[in-house]
Amino acid sequence: MHEFIILTISGLVTGGIYAITAGGLTLTYTTTGIFNFAHGATGALAAFTYWQLHFDWGWPVWLSLLVVLGVLAPAFGVFLHFAIMRRLEGTSETTRLMVTVAVLLSLLAAVMWIWDPQTPRNVVNFFPGESVDMAGTRVSYHDLITLAVALIVAIGLWVLLRSTRAGVAMRATVDDRNLAVLNGSRPEVPGMLAWATGTMLAAVAGILIAPKLSFAALPLTLLIVNAYAAAVIGRLKSLPWTFVGAMIIGLVTEYGKGYLTETRFPTAGPYLSGLSDSMPVLVLFVAIMLLPTSRLRGHASSRTREISHRPTWTGSLVFAGIVIAGAVVAANSLAAADLFASTRMWGFALIGLSVIPLVGYAGKMSLAQLGFAGIGAICVSHLGEGGNPLGLLWAALICAGIGVLVALPALRLSGIYLALATAAFAVMLDRWIFGLPAFTWGDTKIDLFNSGTLNFERFDWPGIDISSDRAYFIFGAVFFALSSLVVVWIRRGEFGRRLLAMKDSPAACATIGMNHKLTTLTVFGLSAAMAGVGGGILGGAAGTLSPVNFDFTAGLSVLMLMVIAGLTSPGAALFAGIFLGTPLMTNLFPDYAQLTTILIGLNGIALGKNPNGFIAAKIRPEWEPALGRPVVLAGSAAAQLALIVLRFTDVIGNWPFVLGILLAVIGIPAALKIEVMIKAPRTEPEVPEGLSGQPEGLGLNGNRFEAADIEALDKLIALPSLPAAATAAAPSPILPGARHGA
């Protein structure tokens, strides 16, 4: 009984921290429509700043708290609002979510950069050693403060959102920003207030939980995952239910830790220890599954600035050709160590490619793609022993099956709830399944991750030897290029149209009799299979893999890079592969290990400006016209070929070679412009009779649109003249001010 009381109190305190975190999440979601994945990272930043001020610089507790909670945290919230979040209007839920993931990755990297993770740090409780006696159990002042703060936050937020005009205006702005403006509300103010308060709550939670966790950036950042479930139980809007949910999760987690131990269950104990860590995500999964669909509606933008480009076969084949040719050149010019490290890029690129049909075309947000890759890697390692390529087939089949199984309960979900359900699955794999000790199923002994490390051999294809790094690199490129063509084929075919239709209007799909359930299951299965194969290819490249390679935050990076470059472009997958699977950044900036992540994050933050990704916004408009200009293409290809020859004959080194290739590629748009200028007609086309200028320029850029122009245009396109009133110069007899604009 005594243990039960201790666990209950401990559970309530943990629940209190989740309540504060989930309260902040709910606040920003209710008032801005953005589910802030970076909430935990903000808490981590605040906790580290508090450590710096109080424990390192010796400032008094009250002053440190005042500076962090009263000044820095709200100021950071206001900064987030002005610099990032308010630019997200008219973007899809995926983009909005990814921007906060970008903030998470940047903050996490920044914290690890500023406060070296290798240096041990400690944060101790408030009023250390002080406690009161409750039901025969000592409860520390710190825990009591945590509970009190949780209660005050829950009540305070409820009052703010329901009983103050500022709170109502915050909610109104999310419902209809323009309408709120037309009512005289300044939308910047509620948004700013919401982010300032939300960030402050993240800081409070971060500081309160810091003494309970190992004081490191990652666990503090991932605290947010535990709070998701509470926020979902409150349906992302009900603060009382969020509070209740947080308490349930706190209790379940602590009871799990207390009772699911090896001492109580000698046989099952080792398997259950990871389970208690996964309790919050299990609760999240169950909560999402049990809540009625009608209550799981997120804030969706009815019209977004995002469009899906239909790729052409010519462009796609050129892309595939360039990938293979580039890989051949790179494989023959990279240093041995760099080449070995870079073979992993094709695994990441394939995992990135798996995101395209599911998230890019079908609009189904999945945060579990790297998890599926982990499952694929397990399959290839165990079922493709000795480099048997059938391992890849097994990986595809098993991952497709698991993908469909995950999709089944998720069929009724969309938007943020689907993202959270898949996040729950990924975290469960990461925290529990991948770490399971060996077990036996019937006569078969199963040891998923070989108690820590999976071993791989290079695939043994009949007639082809890809055991060397060079051959494997080219093999990876060919595999990726062919897979990218499969994705293009899907996009251009009937299935692709179904996926896009489902994303654009599920209601319209239902009315035309489309089976959206089958389509959803198929795309989940297909995407999981692709990710699984990607995991296998990654394993073949690396030789050994551990669960860390497939952790939840790494999965966020893959998705993040895909979104930055453009969720519907195979080029984005290549970008993700290069960024995550090559030592490019560490070679360029050897002293700044965290720079890669920070750069990814900063790029992601700019998504509000180019929600279609930089490939669609910048690269395609500049380079695609070259496909119709053989002269320019041939010129660039010849220059590159010459450079390749010079490189292979060792006339030039790697750096001049790379710079030359870059120039030859960057020169294409410039060459196109020059070609257009040369071919452009030297004389202006004739102005049609009666018009004061070219018809397409009339009424624009200060060119006046005169009455005579209207008449001449009508004549030109054989329209009858407008009624007399339309062209009369005299004012209307009714109103002195009322006259048409002729």
């Binding site: 909610r171 403006v181 037309l182 005289g184 649109f705 009624p723 009714i734 009322a738």
Partner: protein
């Protein structure tokens, strides 16, 4: 600045400045010009109906007046003062009230909270409820219900209620009748008529001409981004078919 209706002289006086006046307003979406030098004057205390087919530019004109869309040329005058380029929020606060196309309510807020959003002009929450609930008793019954769960007619009632609650100088109504049963439309227009009787200027945009002309003092016909004709409802009613069907 607060818009004072008294600033504008009584309608009908020879030099009476209209409460709202558009002078040579042009507007474009990207490169496509959709309003071509529109001139329109809405006299103080009158109801003006702007009629026209789909794509005539009516809604864009209202967006320009409310400041949600910036004109490419021309000026807007409110009570004789040029307000071109003013922020929508400032225009709302000085008394230009607008009910946009569709259901002009906040679906996730309750009826009471929706009305609360009208307090930015300095009217208290209590005053608003005392003014609105006698006109729309059904809203009082549903004061704690989320607006998005009410019927279309009730939602439009709420939008009108929120508009009149602010004691505006001028109300802009965009397609009030859209998607509503004729009976509900009649009720809503009854209310519009009553609002106008209190001296509030109304500019309403409608596709359904008959309904709008019944309450209007003046009407304008719009097509192809131009005002084609301005006159009394009787004058306009005769020529309407040409505006909608061409010819």
């Amino acid at each position: 600045m607060t818009l004072n209706v008294a600033d504008a002289q009584p309608a009908g006086a020879p030099s009476a400045p209209p409460l709202l006046e558009l002078r040579g307003i042009s507007a474009a979406y990207e490169q496509v010009e959709v309003l071509h030098k529109v001139d329109l004057a809405v006299p103080t205390g009158k109801v003006m109906a702007v009629l026209g087919p789909n794509g005539a530019g009516k809604t864009t004109m209202l967006k320009v007046i409310t400041g949600l869309h910036q004109p490419t040329a021309g000026d807007i005058y409110l009570a004789g003062r040029c307000v071109t380029g003013a922020a929508p929020v400032d225009l709302a606060r000085i008394g230009l009230c607008s009910i946009p196309e569709g259901r002009g309510v906040f679906p996730n807020l309750t009826v009471s909270e929706n009305l609360w959003m009208a307090t930015y002009r300095g009217v208290s929450r209590k005053e608003i409820e005392e003014k609105v609930f006698p006109i729309f008793p059904r809203l009082e019954q549903r004061r704690n219900q989320a607006a998005g769960t009410m019927s279309g007619g009730e939602q439009q009632m709420l939008a009108v209620a929120r508009a009149i609650a602010t004691n505006p100088a001028i109300i802009l109504l965009d397609e009030l009748s859209m998607g509503l049963a004729p009976l509900v439309v009649d009720q809503l227009y009854d209310v519009v008529g009553k609002i106008a009787e209190t001296g509030v200027t109304v500019l309403l945009v409608e596709q359904f001409a008959r309904t709008a002309l019944a309450v209007a003092d003046l009407a304008a016909v719009m097509s192809g981004g131009r005002i084609l004709q301005v006159g009394t409802p009787d004058e306009i009613a005769g020529d309407l078919h040409s505006a909608y069907l061409g010819g």
